[in-house]
Symmetry: C2
Subunit: 223 residues, 2 copies
DNA sequence: GTAGATGTTTTGAGTAATCAAAATAGTATG
DNA sequence: CATACTATTTTGATTACTCAAAACATCTAC
């Protein structure tokens, strides 16, 4: 059985590999993402390579093997179903569930996970809009774009909020930008580095590009 | 923060101290209960003593301090609420939940536990009939007796089944002896080392004294 | 094409938990 | 009371994970 640490590393390698273009993930990135010093990441990666979970090219970087990706998707499935369960069944705030799930994902059995999944009616997305892999390890690649890639006047639906910082999530919720919300890009100015969106009840929110980068939308053709 | 291991030791010391009469719990008992070799228990107990959770008398044994008992009851509360939640909300079998709770008890936050507790309507007992300590650390001491202490003809209600072996629990459930069941001691023979009980629908079950010792009942005055 | 700067690996060390097996203390037995 | 048995503690090792700091490799600039 993989330890919690191994599961966390493999999951993080998967997530980092998603967001970067390159084939090989540099050690420094991994160390930073895992909050460990570089030497620790090197040591760990060697044991991951021993277990056949990653391919390791010294001074080059790493990539997940087939088996590594399978494990990563398993952990991700657990994590996201647990998040959905904590929000929908236990009524926790979406800003808190990531941290909880970070621990629970390593101890919840398949049986318990299946029950949660059934109780939730086999959800496709977690509370932050991240897709939930199937138990077979298939994951839906959504056609979504960063908010800043819209043009003024565009209609869109908030699809995902890709940050786990509770403060940020609470701010987003207070202003009604949760996944599923229909929005209208009222003005987008790359020079001023900001975007204004109009929400259903004619409220408006202004976000700088750093914040807007965390909001991913599904373009929506009006009418 | 105490590690999972520390929590497991302290909880086990509490449980062992309950079931034995003596004030000091011998090292051997603890080692056996924790499934470790005696040397491991000695090493661990020294660190528990350092942390002020137990008093340790070398070659005598150990006893929980005030703080140790508080921690034990906290863990026990978590364990039992989780068990109740897994059975009542997720629909797991009562024979399986002990093992699940053994892991979950160390990672479920206070917030999540409170939600579970509320959703269950603040249960007093877990699925096996064990009392759930309050968040203040108070635990109801029930006036219950081993089944073998009854006399032929006695009425009683099954209050607790004190074994976590899934096979045994499944057997008990198949024969309808779950907590809450009204029973009638139709014959009890100490020489033959066995007891026969009659259940609501006139079914009967025979148990040897070893099995009967795990069934605790609340005597019930008929009429 | 040598000199830095940057990123990575190595080395040495520490914590938490465990086991196997030797040493020791305490108790019971002839 | 000496011997033997039993329970407990000690000692020496191992596994998993981590950090600090030194050593090393690679790429960049001048
Ligand atoms: Mn995790
Ligand atoms: Mn999420
Ligand atoms: Mn446990
Ligand atoms: Mn129980």
């Amino acid at each position: 059985m993989p330890t919690s640490t191994v599961e966390n590393y493999v999951k993080q390698i998967y997530l980092q590999q998603q967001s970067r273009a390159a084939d090989l993930l540099p050690m420094g990135q991994l160390a930073a993402a895992m909050n460990v010093v570089p030497g620790t990441a090197t040591a760990m990666v060697k044991t991951l390579a021993e277990s056949g979970l990653v391919e390791y090219e010294p001074r080059g970087g790493i990539r997940l093997t087939e088996g590594g990706a399978r494990l990563a998707l398993h952990v991700l499935r657990r994590h996201r179903i647990i998040e959905a369960f904590l929000v929908d069944v236990l009524g926790l705030d979406w800003s808190q569930v990531h941290e909880e799930a970070e621990l629970l994902e390593h101890v919840v059995s398949d049986k318990v996970l299946d029950r949660m999944d059934a109780l939730l009616n086999h959800p496709q997305y977690d509370p932050h809009g991240d897709p939930i892999p199937t138990s077979q390890g298939d994951i839906a690649e959504q056609a979504i774009l960063p908010l800043m890639s819209c043009k003024s006047g565009d209609q869109a639906i908030v699809a995902r909020v890709s940050d786990q910082d509770p403060e940020f999530l609470q701010y987003i919720e207070r202003h009604g930008l949760v996944p599923g919300t229909q929005i209208n890009v009222s003005s987008l100015n790359t020079l001023a580095d900001s975007v204004e969106v109009r929400l259903p009840k004619d409220k408006t929110v202004v976000l700088g590009s750093n914040a807007a980068a965390k909001i991913l939308v599904r373009p929506h053709i009006a009418g």
